[in-house]
């Protein structure tokens, strides 16, 4: 009796149960990898924080959530597909930003650079050029 009832439940199971979200990966440019390495040495607490926040964004994407639904305070759009991840949980921190391009077409989060508030405009301009390159190579 129990098995029959469960079979009814399983037959009518919603699509969500079998839904497999896309397998997102994370990619880093050579330049960004060097910047992360440098930032870890200069600002270890801030870098640990932005790296952890990157991991949180990545886990959300991996669980099938869409970018448009993200309402995290540390996650901001800079336009043209570029997003900025800031730090949290670091009192008296020096503002550190990680720039990413979550590309839904390839299910890849491209990590494009890391920097501080002073270099923000330069970093954003450079990151957007890289996004154009990535899109142009498809």
């Amino acid at each position: 009796m129990v098995l029959r009832k469960l079979q009814h439940g399983i037959k009518n199971v919603s699509n969500n149960a079998m839904y497999k979200p896309p397998q997102w990966g994370v990619a880093v440019t050579d330049e960004a990898a060097k910047e992360i390495h440098k930032c870890v040495a200069k600002h270890p607490r801030e870098t640990a924080s932005v790296n952890d926040n990157l991991r949180r964004v990545f886990e959300q994407l991996r669980s099938g959530k869409r970018l448009a639904s993200f309402k995290f305070g540390f996650f901001r759009s800079e336009g043209d597909g570029l997003y900025r991840i800031g730090q949290t949980g670091v009192p008296g921190a020096r503002e550190t930003r990680l720039y990413i391009f979550p590309d839904e077409a390839s299910s890849t989060v491209f990590v494009l650079g890391m920097g501080d508030k002073d270099m923000q405009q330069r970093d954003i301009k450079h990151a957007k050029e890289m996004i154009r390159d990535i899109r142009g190579n498809k």
């Binding site: 149960a17 990898a33 949980g89």
Partner: protein
Amino acid sequence: MNTKRYDTVDALVLDAAGKEAVDAMNQHAEETRVIHALVSIRNDKGRSQRQQAKEMGYSPSKLCRIEAGRDADLTLGEIEAYARALGLSVHLSFDDASLPAAAQIKRHVFLIKERLDGLAELAAKQNDDSKLVKKIHEFYGEVLINFAMRFGDSYQKIPPVITVGAEPAKPATPAPYAEKRLAAATR
């Protein structure tokens, strides 16, 4: 532009900056676990920071400071206010880390059964709402499938048991009835 792809952020950070950087990242996660859990629920419910602040009766900047802070700076009152504004209740439980993993898993299984029993009671109370009962049936099916998938996924990670030099298992002595059927089948 050269890029290198990884399956996880941990692998990327390890490669770019070494094990210490990964440890520091995990340390940060540990220090902001409660805040992140609350923010994730707010996010899942599609609520913005501004809306959450309004529900709590806080200024947006105060809420921003809380969400950008550390667990150690949170008060129990702030946790309760945040949870209440999301329609959640707060339950405190204390995990005994000295308990073996199996005992901890059993505890969680019993908790899940309690919740499922609550859902079954809700279904039993429905007189006219067969739609709700149907949805609960479907949900039970989903729980079973999702659990089975995750159980299987985890089980795959256990190394196989390899026994060296064991005696081959002796065939079981068939029951008398089975013996007769076997004899009939092989005639």
